[in-house]
Amino acid sequence: MAILEISHVSRFFGGLAANADVSFSVEEGRIMGLIGPNGAGKTTLFNCITGYYPPSRGEIRFDGRSLNGLQPDRICKLGMVRTWQKVRPLAKLSVLDNVMIGALARTHSLNKARELAMVQLTVVGLERRADFLAGGLPIGERKKLEVARALATQPKLLLLDEVMGGLNPAESEEIIQLILAIKQQGLTQMVIEHDMKAIMRISDRIVVLNSGEKLAEGTPEEVVSNQDVVDAYLGESHA
């Protein structure tokens, strides 16, 4: 069953289309990879889905209801949460406080939120950093903090925007294991990633965006053998 349906979504900035007539859907419990050259409109699509800029045209349905006109906080409450490509820790708050703020989306009690937050910190392996200031963490741990904070809102669908960007291979491997573990718990995920090897390993299906349009969609095997995709990527590396 599709948990997220994107139909004919376009987003214009001035006269420019950052997304043009994009349609696809994400099946429950799967990992959908979202790839494309720089400027292909991946993050814009995330922003449209999570309510930061409403789509200029088209409709997004999540869990059977239309998201049109909903603000990000409402969308989070419905069970969809995102992380940020450029991490956004609440710098002057502790790591635990950061995750508690995520958990407070589901409870009014600070004690309950603290418990939920500790669980998620353990999931991502940051439990020993709980009392550190979030602003002082190294990049690898900040990325994990983003994921823990998002998970604490108890989403049905998790949108990860380049969580491996800027990480070394060992750190990336930890994140890959984390994503796979999250999938084991039945959570749906949509992942933007530049690292082709990683995205091929984790994704059940992949959507390729190019210049704002959907170029291809399919299993990882189908996508890598698609001539349009190969051309788009060759084009990027030759430019």
């Binding site: 603000q71 906080d73 989070c76 949460v81 940020w84 956004r88 406080d97 703020i101 989306a105 809102t153």
Partner: protein, 349 residues
């Protein structure tokens, strides 16, 4: 353990403050303490919105003035005693806050700061122009304040001494401290801080930004209005510049900037530093001191100039303080102390 220590310390200080009027008879020090309590309450009220939510209002005089005016107008023209008037002030202040919030909190950027000043200025000019209601620039003089009774017993008689004001001021400071503590230790406080740190991130984590900013503003406005009512009754007089002027807003903000924004101790420290300083300037104590040390002779031109003008210079000193603190101590006294203790800890370790 640390919590127990803090609580003990708090109770000792509180005990000292409760006993203070019995030990110190000097009306000057009593007055100074009342002003410190007022400043603590003002700072703590501003802190909820400015410190925790990061929405720096430069127009809190609006709510302060509403409290003072509403209470004194009701007292003078309707003989409604201040302990009812204070609540009327709160209601009006919250309504004003809701209007400002509805206009500004949909927007990002410096709009809130601008609008907060604009609203305070609208209030000041309106108070000057609406002569029928506020007596215009001449202000309102409270002739006599009815004593507070519990049944037949007189609890507080305001005509004899300032001691009742001392305890009411202390109560007000404690009330605001308590509310700020409650906010800091609740979902609201966590959400306000998230908004301060990063609005987009906060939004994505399910926080309805505008609504929570409005909660913060309403609480802040209600408490500030209570401090205004207290001030109006304590001084027994209001006019537009004393309660609605831009320098009132700056002073309220300055308490937190100096002490440290977004902390419970910040406004307390800020008040303890700022109020005696302002009073010393106002009462020419600084000139007297300079004369005493022999830095200036009282008959010299400089001495006369200082004597003449330094009492008007407190706002100038505020300005200099703002600039210095922002440049060299942007997290206030609390931030500087934290840095010191952190460094010492590092050296020990």
């Amino acid at each position: 353990m640390r919590a127990a220590l803090k609580l003990t310390l708090f109770l000792i200080v509180l005990g000292g403050l409760v006993a203070f009027p019995r030990m110190v008879q000097s009306p000057y020090f009593l007055q100074l303490m009342i002003l410190v309590f007022l400043a603590v309450a003002q700072g703590q009220s501003w802190n909820i919105l400015g410190g925790y939510a990061g929405q720096h209002s430069v127009g809190h005089a609006a709510y302060f003035g509403v409290g003072a005016y509403v209470t004194l107008i009701l007292l003078q023209s309707r003989q409604i005693p201040p302990w009812w008037g204070i609540w009327a002030g709160v209601v009006v202040a919250v309504i004003v806050a809701l209007i400002i919030g509805a206009i500004c909190f949909r927007l990002r950027g410096p709009y809130f700061v601008l609008a907060s000043i604009a609203v305070a200025e609208i209030m000041r000019l309106s108070a000057t122009n609406l002569k029928g209601l506020t007596n215009g620039a001449e202000g309102i003089l409270a002739t006599d304040i009815p004593s507070l009774r519990w049944g037949e017993r007189v609890v507080a008689d305001f005509s004899i001494s300032k001691v009742p004001f001392y305890y009411i001021g202390l109560g007000l400071a404690l009330l605001t401290l308590g509310v700020a503590w409650g906010v800091a230790h609740s979902k609201l406080g966590y959400y306000l801080q998230a908004i301060r740190e990063d609005q987009d991130a906060a939004h994505s984590l399910g926080i309805p930004i505008a609504r929570y900013k409005n909660y913060g503003l309403m609480i802040s406005a209600a408490l500030t209005s209570m401090t205004g009512s207290f001030f109006g009754v304590f001084v027994g007089f209001v006019d537009p510049p004393t309660v609605l002027g831009l320098d009132v807003s700056v002073q309220i903000m300055l308490i937190c900037i100096i002490g440290g924004m977004g902390t419970l101790y910040g406004p307390v420290l800020g008040a303890v530093v700022l109020v005696p300083l302002a009073e010393a300037l106002r009462s020419n104590a600084v000139t007297d001191l300079l004369v005493k040390v022999g830095a200036v002779s009282p008959e010299s031109k400089v001495g006369l100039f200082l004597k003449e003008n330094l009492s008007h210079a407190h706002v100038l000193i505020y300005g200099i303080l703002v600039v210095l603190v922002i440049l060299f101590m942007p997290e206030g006294i609390v931030g500087a102390l934290r840095k010191l203790t952190a460094r010492r800890r590092r050296e020990v370790a």
